[in-house]
Symmetry: C2
Subunit: 569 residues, 2 copies
């Protein structure tokens, strides 16, 4: 008798698991239920539909060949029965049935299963604030909301919008609204930086500057208290620091895994509510699989359970589940936490832990950052790339890397290489120094930026120099009347002298002159040195050290990083 | 007493090793000798100077901050003594001296060393053909030759050129001459494809088509017999198949490592002439290091000694040697063989073995290729990417991957991720299926092309379908009157029907219709199926299999690959 396979949830993982299983086991009866109307859509594409870059809503639920993936598509083309607007209410593991309810007719029914797949996803966290139920207060996970926003923008109805949450989706939405529709956007984030957890505080400043220089206001360490409306629609956001007029409010403050169905059935669920699965993506009931945004999976770097809701992970997990449903032995290894986001000028991309997150995880971590061109400096097309490598001091083990670059694909190349290394072992700083990446002048530098960040980390770990982030350097500069730091600009003379003219405390001593002018540097004060990227200042610092000047800090990323953070002298 | 460190060779590795050592050991006496005038230049940039993309020759020997790296630069800025036009003649390992000769004055001298570094590079292979000594017969490794070519182009003196050798440098030179100067270029390659060893024969056809569609003639399996001249300058190239008029001939037929100095000193050298070094880049004499293009290093995939002359490798090895000269314990792990080259429309990039090379190495290898967009299909900017994964059948181990794409950085991202995996372990097809790469719609597809090529390889290895390359499919089509193959086009109806109208043997049976029309497919003839990329044809093939039609081959990469190879129905 053919097996009955039941899949709950029809967005990313559910359809993938169903289709893969059906390909391997053509005679299986596979039914997929989803409580919504739309299924199998690219939720990650919603910001691009809002912006208009993706023209039609249907593009998000089409194959690359413009076939819409609706119930009929799965039935005819894939041999899978799809029941939309059908909510899963309860699992009876004894009887092996799933109680479902037709949300239109209200009719309940028990569906039998041999194997069950939970692909119930996650729910956007909607903070319980007064006014949260006003019209035009939305999250950005459903196509219906996307259409509402786009229609309102096209109708010129939105002149101000507030995004609550400075994570990936919030920032993508902010870019979409500001860049394409000229909406005045404010981002309100509770933490003290945007992209918290994804970027270090320093690199977060680069992201914030990309926003503010494109007229998007960023309010960090700020909390939304309530929303106020006019005629039932939102009109104003009140935070603990200000009032922001807004005809649209998007909540993008993270996700809560939909683990209730599993929990109610007695399956193991984490305290956070995510379904626990093994390497085969099986729950604590061997006949029930789960995957995607409703699940907790292993963080490969710590070896501990973690949570990372991402469409790409769901797709890969879906294939693993599909294989196993058909009697295979596929495993999902866990995640290292890669991500990418395109803002205005800059794209950001990363893997693993930021320095702050690594410390929270108990690692004795440091972050080392560099600025370097992504290609040979003599090649005409190139961009300055910022990379920050996060390493454990005692073991020299790499824990993560994040970056910023105008060329997102070039940045992705460096991050994905480190991500692969993190998936395959426990790379050290030396492995990054030696990492072999594809080279030719239109693609990389002969000593590529990813190798350089490894080299610099190695120099720091060996105590060859004391780094400060560019923003910490600027803090030193701001407080110069108190800290008595002696500031050196090691750039070629013209650049440094221009600053010195305005600020006599800024000492333009180019690398070329430092050996000859070493007597100008006081020995009874700390020294802070900066150049354009950190390269010349390092060479200067070594010359100072040879001359007995050793209380020196070097600004990582130099003026390039200072400028990317929007800091001014 | 400070150590005397002597470095022979001043292009990539030599200066790197010297500077790194000096930074770590400031009091060392470091001398670098080189027989040429120019040192420390980016030899890989020569094609871009020839094309004019890099404006000045000095750009190739400048730091990113426009300081020229000449002898004075190394002396003043780095504390390293440089003696150019000084040839190393012999090493006396007993006395620890190097005999050198001033090539201008002819004066010989013995330089003492505590540690010696051989960075003698490689010499372009100049086939000994009649006329090889005519004017304007050049290789492309020295700045002087680059200037000669550029000046001749600027003067309008070159209307036809022949490149001998279809490897990286030859092809870069061909692009430079044809694209920027409108020179009629012919590439003559002895092997039966261009980029032999780097690309499979099939992907080599994509590269060749990129050339021929940009009016560069490609002659493979063809040998240069002699060159003929007029007034002492080359005027014609005579091959075993034709005569080609040429005012410029560039030999780019590979390199021979300069291992003679080492061999004469009794150091171990491979039969091919490359210096043997250990993981510390030490020769068989512990006081003599060697690295860069003159050395043999370990191929990580086979574990056997190999040879890969690349500027990026030399730079990384230089740092390792510099560290060890200063008493450190740095290791160079070997190479997996990454490369990248930008042609006209397409960039190519790869790592490890091609399917043909893997077989020569004794692996029971297959190549599996796909075509897929590099980003979400609903995102406006995107390119079709071709990837070919090379795997060992019995172990499912990945041996290499090569690709082609308009967006070179996007391609590099996929290749570098697989390259990192190859450096850190022995990845299998399943590791590539599950490889976690940074995802967001402007960067990747939710099921990324690199995962898809892993998935397809897994399907092939499990016997789920029999693949043929797009060119093999077209061979079947060409010979259809003999082989009685039944051809199915699974694309959406319009595309297939347009071909069927011209060729009644071409059966347009879209995926949507195949289940209903399965009776049209004969059971007593082999079937070959194609679609746009290989995706729809795979689904069609599974439906055929369910209906008992099993003698089917599927064209990998579909019509996208056919078109990239310039093949026509």
């Amino acid at each position: 008798m053919p097996e009955n396979i039941l899949v709950v949830g029809g967005v990313a993982l559910g359809p993938k698991a169903a289709c893969r299983c059906k390909r391997l086991m053509p005679h299986a009866n596979i039914t997929l239920v989803d409580e919504n109307v739309y299924i199998s859509y690219g939720g990650c594409g919603i910001p691009y539909f809002v912006s208009g870059e993706t023209q039609n809503l249907d593009d998000l639920r089409s194959t690359p060949y413009h076939t819409i993936r609706d119930a009929a598509f799965f039935d005819t083309m894939k041999g899978i029965t799809v029941r939309t607007q059908t909510r899963a209410l309860a699992i009876d593991r004894q009887a092996k049935t799933l109680l479902v309810k037709d949300v239109v007719s209200g009719k309940e029914e028990k569906l039998p299963y041999d194997k069950l797949v939970l692909a119930t996803g996650a729910t956007p966290r909607m903070p319980k604030v007064e006014g949260g139920d006003l019209a035009n207060v939305l999250s950005l996970t459903r196509l219906e909301a996307a259409q509402t926003i786009r229609t309102a923008c096209e109708g010129g109805k939105i002149s101000e919008a507030v995004i609550v949450g400075g994570g990936f989706i919030g920032l993508e939405a902010a870019v979409a609204l500001a860049d394409m529709w000229g909406v005045k956007v404010s981002v309100v984030e509770m933490m003290d930086q945007i992209l918290p957890g994804a970027l270090s505080h320093s690199f977060g400043q680069m992201a914030a500057h990309d926003f503010t220089s494109h007229k998007v206001d960023v309010y960090t360490s700020e909390k939304v208290l309530r929303l106020e409306g006019t005629n039932g629609a939102v009109a104003k956001v009140v935070t603990d620091k200000r009032e922001l007029p807004a005809q649209l409010v998007i909540f993008a403050a993270g996700f809560i895994p939909n683990g209730q169905l599993a929990r109610d059935a007695g399956l193991e669920v984490t305290p956070f509510g995510a379904v626990v699965v093994d390497a085969h993506m099986r729950t604590t009931d061997p006949d029930i699989y789960a995957g995607g945004d409703c699940c907790s999976i292993k963080n490969i770097i710590t070896g501990k359970p973690g949570y990372l809701p991402l469409g790409s992970m769901a797709n890969r997990q879906g294939r693993v589940i599909g294989t196993n449903l058909a009697g295979g032995d596929a495993r999902f290894p866990g995640y290292v936490g890669t991500w990418a986001v395109k803002l205005f000028e800059l794209s950001f991309c990363g893997v693993g832990f930021t320095v702050e997150r690594a410390r929270k995880e108990g690692f004795d971590a440091i972050g080392v950052s560099v600025e370097q061109l992504d290609r040979a400096h003599f090649y005409p097309e190139k961009s300055m790339m910022s990379l920050e490598l996060v390493v454990e001091k005692s073991t020299r083990r790499v824990l993560g890397m994040q970056g910023a670059c105008v060329d997102g694909a070039a940045l992705k190349a460096r991050v994905d290489a480190v991500a692969a290394a993190l998936q395959c072992g426990k790379p050290t700083v030396e492995d990054i120094s030696n990492l072999e990446v594809a080279y030719a002048p239109p693609f990389a530098a002969a000593m590529d930026v990813v190798n350089v960040v490894g080299n610099v980390a190695e120099n720091v770990l060996c105590g060859r120099f004391s780094p400060v982030t560019a923003d910490a350097f600027m803090e030193l500069w701001k407080n110069r009347s108190d800290n008595h730091v002696f500031f050196i600009d090691a750039r070629p003379a013209a650049a440094g002298k221009a600053v010195q003219k305005k600020h006599p405390d800024w000492h333009a001593i180019p690398l070329e002159e430092i050996a000859a002018r070493v007597q100008e540097v006081p020995r009874d004060r700390p020294v802070a040195i900066i150049c354009n990227t950190g390269l010349r200042s390092y060479d200067s610092l070594l010359i100072l050290a040879r001359n007995g000047v050793t209380d020196v800090v070097n600004a990582m990323g130099g003026m390039q990083a200072v400028n990317k953070m929007g800091l001014t002298l």
